[in-house]
């Protein structure tokens, strides 16, 4: 089955789209397993131009989804980049055709451990093959094929989305005119893997996880998943940001209660983050996607030399990091920049001053947004796309 003609779609409140991919030609995953057909859920914004040269693929982060600029169907909250998408905005829907798909292994409509395995008629659970960032990108490439687009004008994403951007640039250099990896890295560091392991252990230690079969058992490992989210959420913020927001302030009380209730505001905040997360995310998806990030190491895939990943590239790169991001610190972005320099690639690199930590890429950071706007405008001029308001550049 396919969806209605994506080219005709121009509304910014596009309906949820789903497509079945890989029925004739299964998708061969890095682990060796072949999978297919699979379902991919995605959203589009704006209109694809006649020569299909204005498409931007937006790659979402670990717990993100394809609701970039639509209200989330479960939480009702605005899309994660909704401030940046629309007519005249950074991702100008008058000029660009935006695509974002839920990643392979996700839990918002794309095939993942929560979905039904057609071979068994039951949820995949831990029977789902272990996936990689490369597998996610391969599936995205199939979607781009399906949409009839040869070359993407831009691939952009933050955090795990940035990993996908780098993977795209490596695996499909001719299909990526420009690439914007934000707050990302060419590999997951030992510290990052360690934090992910804490999250996974929290999930599997929850008795309601039921060895991964909680859907069949009618249970949900909410406590474990909430703890995983709480631990991860700390890594998305900076110490100064946490201190500024909460300090040692107490939660609805005058003095500490000499107990283990949430005395401090920061505890209450984290508990809230954990408890709301479980409503919209699947625990097994969390295991699979964190694993995919852990396995990511672009240099290792290229004989230990990161520059080899980009040799001969003609893609225009804009690498962005944030000063207070200690999860994907600037040094990781700089390593990517050095590798790109080593192959004389066309690269811009900006470290944005921000105290908001890793999450800065999702927040209101005017200098960050000015940087992306300028880079996109420059790339559009080189691609021969019209400027803002339809003026040719």
């Amino acid at each position: 089955m396919t969806v209605s003609d994506p080219v005709s779609e121009s509304s910014s409140a596009a309906p949820d789209r789903k497509v079945e991919l890989g029925r004739d030609r299964p998708i061969r995953l890095d682990c060796g397993v072949e999978i297919g057909p699979i379902t991919v859920a995605y959203q589009t914004y704006g209109r694809l131009n006649a020569d299909k040269s204005n498409a931007i693929l937006i790659c979402h982060a670990l717990t993100g989804d394809h609701y970039v600029a639509d209200p989330h169907p479960i939480t009702g909250k605005p899309g994660w980049w909704s401030e940046l998408v629309g007519p005249g905005r950074l991702f100008d829907t008058d000029r660009y055709f935006l695509i974002c798909s839920n990643v392979l292994g996700g839990c918002m409509g794309t095939t993942g451990p929560m979905e039904i395995n057609p071979a068994t008629g039951q949820p995949w659970g831990l029977g789902f093959p272990v996936i990689t960032i490369g597998d996610m990108v391969q599936v995205q490439a199939r979607l781009i094929d399906h949409l009839g687009i040869g070359q993407l004008f831009c691939v952009v994403g933050g955090s795990m989305g940035g990993m996908q951007v780098l993977e795209w640039a490596q695996s499909y250099p001719d299909r990526v005119f420009s690439a914007i990896p934000i707050a990302a890295a060419a590999r997951h560091s030992a510290q990052n893997i360690a934090f992910h392991e804490v999250g996974r252990q929290a999930i599997v230690a929850d008795p309601d996880w039921c060895d991964g079969n909680y859907l069949l058992e009618g249970k949900r490992p909410h406590r474990g998943l909430a703890v995983a989210r709480m631990a991860a959420h700390i890594t998305y913020l900076s110490e100064p940001a946490l201190h500024q927001k909460f300090g040692r302030n107490l939660q609805n009380r005058e003095a500490v209660a000499y107990g283990f209730d949430a005395d401090f505001q920061v505890e209450s905040y984290l508990r809230h983050q954990g408890s709301t997360f479980v409503d919209r995310f699947d625990a097994n998806s969390y295991l699979y996607i964190t694993r995919a990030m852990d396995y990511f190491d672009l240099a290792a895939e290229n004989g230990g030399v990161l520059a080899n990943a980009f040799r001969g590239t003609r893609t225009r790169f804009c690498v962005v990091s944030f000063t207070s991001d200690w999860l994907f610190p600037t040094a990781e972005s700089r390593a990517v920049v050095h590798a790109l320099n080593a192959v004389a690639a066309n690269v811009s690199f900006v470290e944005i001053r921000s105290d908001k930590g890793h999450d800065a890429f999702l927040l209101d950071e005017p200098e960050f947004h000015a940087t992306l706007t300028g880079f996109l405008n420059g790339a559009a001029a080189h691609r021969g796309l019209p400027g803002r308001g339809g003026a040719s550049q």
């Binding site: 004389a344 880079f375 405008n377």
Partner: protein
């Protein structure tokens, strides 16, 4: 915003450098600031330009203007580039602020076919007089800092620079004496005279013929 394009408002010394660059060539501007030179070269000479700039504000302004600029510096970031990647590597008014000018210069001529370098001349007569009669570190228009807050840590004279080039086997194709505003000084082509009367030196360098 300093991006004044195509109306001749490019800083005098940058215009002089821009005039030396062949159309359609590949240029790396080290210490490019907000990218005024790159912008001008891109728009008037169809140059494929890249920049390196230390200041966050400079990089941000340049990239927001659509230029390909990375945040970095001459001392640490030149080593990554492959040999012969550029036709010109430009270092304007920055050499004296690098930690290792000799290494920087060597990398510039490895990466680029030619290097264009300008710097304030510490051998200018006014600097010499300042030191001789006042006994204090010179503060002039081209050297506008007190000794304790200057980013310029490796001063040299034109004579010093030419001597380093000889030592590195670098060919000096052109040597242009400039006044304090960056205009060409009509001096006889004699290094000793330039070293005494030029506020700044501008040089086009290339690797010595094999």
């Amino acid at each position: 915003m300093m991006m004044v394009v195509g109306n001749g408002n490019l800083r005098v010394d940058l215009k002089l450098i821009a005039d030396m660059v062949e159309p359609g060539s590949r240029v790396l501007d080290v210490g490019c600031g907000e990218g005024a030179l790159l912008d001008w070269l891109g728009k008037t000479k169809n140059v494929d330009g890249r920049g390196i700039e230390l200041s966050m504000a400079g990089v941000s302004a340049a990239v927001s203007h659509g230029l390909s600029v990375i945040q970095g510096d001459a001392d640490t970031d030149l080593k990554d580039y492959p040999s012969g990647a550029f036709d010109y590597v430009i270092l304007s008014q920055t050499l004296q602020a690098t930690y290792e000018p000799k290494t920087v210069l060597s990398h510039m001529l490895r990466i680029g076919r030619r290097a264009i370098v300008s710097f304030p001349n510490f051998g200018h007569w006014r600097v010499r007089m300042h030191l001789l009669f006042r006994g204090a570190m010179p503060v002039t228009d081209t050297l506008a800092y007190e000794w304790f807050d200057t980013p310029n840590i490796h001063f040299c004279t034109i004579r010093d620079f030419l001597s380093l080039c000889r030592g590195l086997g670098i060919t000096v194709e052109r040597s242009i004496p400039l006044d304090r505003e960056g205009k060409v000084l009509p001096l006889p082509s004699c290094d000793g005279i330039a070293n005494l009367f030029a506020d700044q030196g501008l040089f086009v360098l290339s690797r010595a013929a094999q």
